[in-house]
């Protein structure tokens, strides 16, 4: 097992190294003046990166690293919310569809999933305010939090930071943040919802076909009992694993949602910077976002390995 973790770590280091090479190539291309040879330049670049000097934004003279991390935190909050919402709904539906495979219910659930997948994210996002207006929901349609509340940046996660303001606003700021997350996370959850239904259904029907389930049935266990004792244990690693391989697609959607809802996340950060000609964000974004996705994939791998050692699916090379 230690061997497995070490291999993951090795993978992390080598992949991260390639990421820094890509970032440096971009940095090199964006900087017109090249005072030193490429290899020396890379070393100086890396030293600066490791020291934390990632550069200063030309727009507002703020350190780029801090801005990038803060926007990443905002996108993460959104994604986590969307994940929780989508999974709580999609897993039960996927299980039902898997059990009644090719039945009427399965048809209905799968159609919903395909519809959810086919809705263009940005379009749903711009329609959302109108939709919520029709149902007379007064949910906020943009931004991170109501500007009335002044929340100091402590962890970067607005949800947590807003809890530090309970002295002045009680829980108002926190509620405001939660309310601001609702519409965008609904939009973002569509994709996760569809994917999870598909994956759960697939895994369930695979597991249900297998011999040991038949054996369990013959022992006289009910479907619910079987689900509880055998199926869950066997399907969750593959669901998590598949979602993990979709992380970067998911992040792409999260950025789009974030841009439309102006929720101060990675997407908006990138877009406004590019529009204002602050291209230095691009290599930074590769390092921050790419690094984050890499790190979380590997952590998920190790976690999966710890919880279910038999399922050692390797998406990445060893």
């Amino acid at each position: 097992m230690l061997n497995y973790i070490m291999r993951r770590l090795g993978l992390f280091i080598s992949t991260a190294f390639i990421l820094t090479l890509i970032a440096y190539a971009l940095h090199y291309w964006l900087n017109q003046s090249h005072s030193q040879p490429i290899i020396n330049g890379y070393i100086t670049y890396m030293i600066q990166i490791l020291k934390g000097n990632w550069g200063i934004s030309i727009i507002d003279h703020q350190p780029i690293l801090a801005k990038g991390l803060k926007s990443l935190a905002s996108t993460l909050e959104l994604s986590i919310f969307a994940f929780i919402g989508a999974l709580t709904l999609a897993i039960p539906l996927g299980i039902i569809a898997g059990i009644y495979r090719n039945g009427q219910i399965d048809y209905l659930i799968m159609s919903t999933a395909i519809i959810a997948l086919a809705l263009p994210v940005f379009w749903v996002a711009i329609m959302m305010p109108t939709v919520s207006n029709i149902f007379h929901l007064t949910l906020p349609i943009d931004g991170q939090i109501s500007p009335i509340y002044e929340v100091k940046n402590v962890t970067g996660f607005m949800l947590i930071d807003s809890l530090f303001t309970t002295g002045t606003y009680h829980f108002e700021a926190f509620y405001s943040r939660v309310r601001h997350l609702i519409l965008p996370s609904i939009v973002l959850s569509l994709f996760i919802f569809a994917e999870t239904i598909r994956l759960t259904r697939h895994s369930i029907s695979m597991v249900m076909k297998s011999n040991y389930i038949n054996a369990a049935y013959s022992k006289g266990l009910s479907t619910v009992q079987i689900l509880r004792s055998h199926v869950f244990k066997n399907i969750y690693p593959s669901i998590i694993h598949d979602l993990r391989s979709n992380l970067s697609t998911l992040f792409s959607f999260a950025m789009t949602v974030d841009i439309v809802f102006k929720s101060k996340g990675s997407g908006q950060w990138l877009l406004t910077s590019i529009h204002e000609g602050d291209y230095i964000v691009l290599p930074t974004a590769i390092l921050i976002i790419g690094g984050f996705i890499l790190l979380s994939s590997i952590l998920i791998d190790i976690l999966l390995m710890l919880t279910s050692p038999t399922k050692r699916i390797t998406l990445y090379v060893d």
Binding site: T88, I141, D142, G143, S146, P147, E172, R179, H275, E276
Partner: protein, 534 residues
Amino acid sequence: MRIILILIYFFLLTACQGNESTLKHSLVYCPEGNPKLFNPQLVDDVATIDATTNQLYNRLVKRDQMNQKILPDLATHWIQNKNENSITFFLRKNIAFHHTAYFSPTRNFNADDVIFSFNRMLKTTNPFHAICPLSDNYFFNHPFYNSVKTIIKIDDYTVKFLLRSKVQYFLDNLTDNYSIILSKEYAQQLLAKGTPKNIDYFPIGTGPYKFKSFSRNNLIRYQANTKYWQGKPSIDNLIYSVTPQSIQRYAKLLSGKCEVIIYPSPTQIKKISKDKSYRLSMNSTYNIILLAFNTKRTALKNKNVRHILSQVIDKKQINSTIFFNTAEVVNSILTPDSWAFAPNLRRVDDPSKITKKDLALLRHNVSKPLIILAPKKGAEFDPLFKTIAKIIKYNFDKIGVQSKIFILGHIDLHKRLNSGHYDLYLTRLKGNPYHPINMFIPILSCDSKAVEGNSARWCNRKTQKLLNNILTSSRLKQKKQKYHQLQKLIQREYLYLPIVHVLRFDVMQANISGISLNPLTGINFFNVKKQGSH
């Protein structure tokens, strides 16, 4: 899972109630853009002025909005001496500067602050004169540049200005956005700390609100100045939530997230004016949208070509299509309410008058597609520029003139303006009804670069002379005549085609009152009142 649902429900319920006191004493205003900095001495775009002049600062005198009379502000009264051509101000006592996290004043406002504030603009030796990169060349066009000889401190509360210009003219200047009073003590502290630039980014003034924080493209926070000499404002937290898209601002107004917004989408103005839960206010901005002809380009060198192109641009259509008739079609770069406005300028646009000969001339001169340049961001009317450019292109297409539209962000735009690689430049010009000279010099003078305003790249000895004459002449009638000549010159030579004068619209929720607006000094939240909560 059930717990999560219950929790969410609980959040939704309680969140609807809101914290009464925070809501009641906060006001959210949604402007279109970021202020460039927090000092209206240096820049005069709507966003900067709205965020500074009336909120953070006071001036020596101010103008009554109703009868245009000049009223005391930080000066209690003043005496004019016609013979000596001077004016003496007697200053108000016990006026405190803002006490903030970054500055604690040890003394009250006095004559030193007045002298410092004006000398920053007038004297090149002042350490703060050239400190702001945004003010490159700006001070040279500054209306004060030629009007003040020297400023004398008579005692702590008396200041005398010796003038070159007329006293009345100077008093007009003092009511403008750039005549605000800074704290000399704060400036000296900054200088000692080695961070003099902060003076424009962390402002200290005497106004009703004090600066708290600013994050670009996001928020500006102000706090009520509890020691304000005219009384504390009724709002504790004044918040500017920067929202560039008009449709977004409108949606935020409807959802209650913005309580006051600037420029609702022109498509919504009719609807809002009928809705009783909102109030709409309309004001002049002195902002003219104009099209500059690059006179150095081969295609446009010929005056007649510029004439024909001006003829086909349908200004009325632009006004109806884009502004839904909420703007004013103009023929001069000055608005009709200015004293220097030339009333007898003729209308240029009339496509029916174009003859076959004209078309032949166009074909002969315009061989390549014309490049139409327009700014993307940073200007107040950016979503509109693109559509205006499209209409102009459409007008050109009709007479068979090819054109290409380039909508550029400010860095690329500056590059292109500097290189001169454009034919037409769609832009806006901020006018000044009292001192038109500071709009004519940037757009006509040989020394002025395209980025600074001379996007027609016009340089002509006669024009230069005319500009100098205005600067030196002291008689109003003579000046007026010269200004008329300048406006006619612009029309005769087809350097700039003024298209429309944009009016400013602000919408506020019906329970908000007491906001006043002045085209030159911007919005004023001092007297704002908020009744009940919605």
